[in-house]
Subunit: 340 residues, 2 copies
DNA sequence: TCACTTTGCTTAAACGTTTAATCGAAATAA
DNA sequence: TTATTTCGATTAAACGTTTAAGCAAAGTGA
């Protein structure tokens, strides 16, 4: 039982395949009378015709596919974002292809190549470290893309970011205003710009309030050994004379790992140690007390990303756009100073 | 700057396009001498030739695309599973297309149609309620698929399930053995077979131990109003004379919502009320005490699903397979009887 | 009436592959 | 030498569309 093609419809309607194509695509320069239109549509209906997208794509050079490259689709941050992007993409007639890079350049490049080979109309990308050449190649190939979550200073590309520096400084100042003197920052060992900005925001927050920064006030964590590094780091730092009275985790995964450890240590939050975290995840909801966290505007990030990409796909020359969205600080109990 | 095609390679290598195709696909009936092979490969390399998958698909009727239909990619259960499936699919040379149905038949059917229109080689499907006709249609179209997580008794299809009934009965009996007398089951208001089996396992667990089941011992929740129904349900049931001393949540979302509520009510777990949950999610890790939960073999579900599908795609006549995998009961503190 | 435009529709090339069929030259066999 | 086989490669059709170009018939204006 073969698929029914435009040819079969043409035969049944008693017209040429060109006419069928024109009718079915509404490419009617007012040269096709209603009668023919009806004939064709009826035939298509009766044969239950479904257009062959592959043939269509071969001819039109459009696939109506958008590729999404995230670090890990199993990470709630990215899966929530992916869901938003999926909906918006479908809305605009695209199908979404998703790939996880694991923060690994080789995998990243393989994904990009795969999407390029599949001739995705455009890409939404959370770039990894050292992906500059790969992105440059993409630009050379004239495949439209927009960067999300992260951005690469060396690359002039459309992007959607959040105010990483400012919101981090805000978190820091919030903790300072609450009266915490010795805040520990837990961050990734990374060169990713958006994460460096979070650290910089922290540093500038301290500076602004004339607080000195000592060396072990920033705990750097290897992304591949989060639990190990955080457990060890917290163990040692909590035993120093300069024991921190607050911790600021700069990602959801760091926060989850850190909170587990603090709980295991039997520390009361915020009485023994205050906590602020980045991102929002279901996990925070089960923490015994409401957490203070930075809420990213995921809905905006996702929908704007798709819309920007859509525009780029359809009009070759769009001016470069670097959108900066604002994250919100949600203040819970975890960052409240204990009453003396 | 046009894409380089097989034609360009042929020209550069000084051979016909057929030869190029044969060489590049290793379709060599030992009729092509090494010299030509080298020539072609060199030319392809130098021109940086990338095959056009669309043209390839048009000709071969294979897309090397697998479609995955889940209820919601933002649900950790599905995003974890999706990640596993993505990796295994890539391993076998497929690209993964993901769609979320929101447990809605119309969206479900739209997704299936979209994947069919894109001529996915096969589908991995978590079917929704009332999707029978849609799945039958898929069978008629001879598109290979395997069902995961759920299954539809009316449809004879390949599937991968877990032992929902038995593991639920095991959870129930575990609670009974711990000494809990009045266990509340929190379940979805649904006809989905795998969820009914969880309830049935609970009922049979009680029966086996000669415990009677009274009406308000099962709290049915509308999936679209989880928080509302659970909050109200727990409020009322906790105020009855037959106050439950343990709760068994039959999904991760139900558990997260319920645990939030129990915490808000200031109840101590397990001293005031014991808890067991289904599925595994990051959120459980931040709950103050280790939870008792049912751990599904996600890695096996995902990899076996892809492998089964792969086999079905490549050999038209594979016997129907209904794999049943075993979930594990992880016993934490949340289901421990308080010492009297 | 004739020239020209409009209308309605068709023809045919093209998109980039795969692959069966074919073909000439060289090698082997008779 | 001639017939046959093998080797190495090519030709051309096909996959299912889109779309520029073309064409016959009808309509219009002078």
């Amino acid at each position: 039982m073969k698929r029914v093609s435009i040819k079969d419809v043409a035969l049944k309607a008693g017209v040429s395949i060109a006419s069928v194509s024109y009718v079915l695509n509404n490419k009617i320069n007012s040269r096709i009378p209603q009668e023919t239109i009806d004939k064709v549509k009826l035939a298509a209906e009766e044969l239950n015709y479904r257009p062959n997208n592959i043939a269509k794509s071969l001819k039109t050079q459009r696939t109506h596919i958008i590729g999404l490259v995230v670090a890990d689709i199993a990470n709630p941050y990215f899966s929530q974002l992916a869901r938003i992007i999926e909906d918006e993409a479908n809305q605009l007639g695209y199908t979404l292809l998703i790939g996880s890079s694991d923060e690994n350049v080789e995998k990243f490049e393989a994904l990009i190549n795969m999407f390029a080979d599949r001739q995705a109309d455009g890409l939404i990308i959370a770039p990894v470290e050292n992906s500059e050449k790969c992105l440059l190649k993409l630009q050379k190939q004239k495949i439209p893309f927009v960067l999300i979550d992260r951005y690469i200073p060396e690359i002039e590309a459309d992007s959607i970011q959040i105010n990483n520096h400012d919101i981090s400084q805000k978190v820091t100042e919030h903790l300072i205003k609450e009266g915490f003197k010795n805040i520990l920052l837990v961050a990734y060992k990374t060169e990713l710009q958006h994460l460096l900005e979070r650290t910089q925001g922290f540093v500038n927050g301290l500076k602004k309030h004339q607080l000195q920064i000592n060396d072990n006030q920033i705990l750097l964590v290897d992304k591949d050994y989060i639990d190990r590094d955080i457990y060890k780091g917290l163990d040692t730092t909590l035993n120093t004379s300069q024991r921190p009275d607050a911790v600021f985790f700069t990602s959801n995964k760091l926060a989850v790992s850190g909170l587990k450890k603090l709980t295991q240590l039997g520390l009361n939050i915020p009485n023994d140690i205050a906590v602020a975290a980045f991102d929002e995840t279901e996990a925070y909801e089960l923490f015994p007390i409401p957490l203070t966290f930075v809420k990213q505007p995921l809905l905006n990030i996702g929908t704007i990303a798709v819309q920007m990409l859509h525009k780029k796909i359809n009009t070759k020359t769009t001016p470069l756009q670097n959108v900066i969205l604002h994250a919100e600080l949600h203040i819970g109990i975890s960052s409240k100073k204990r009453l003396p």
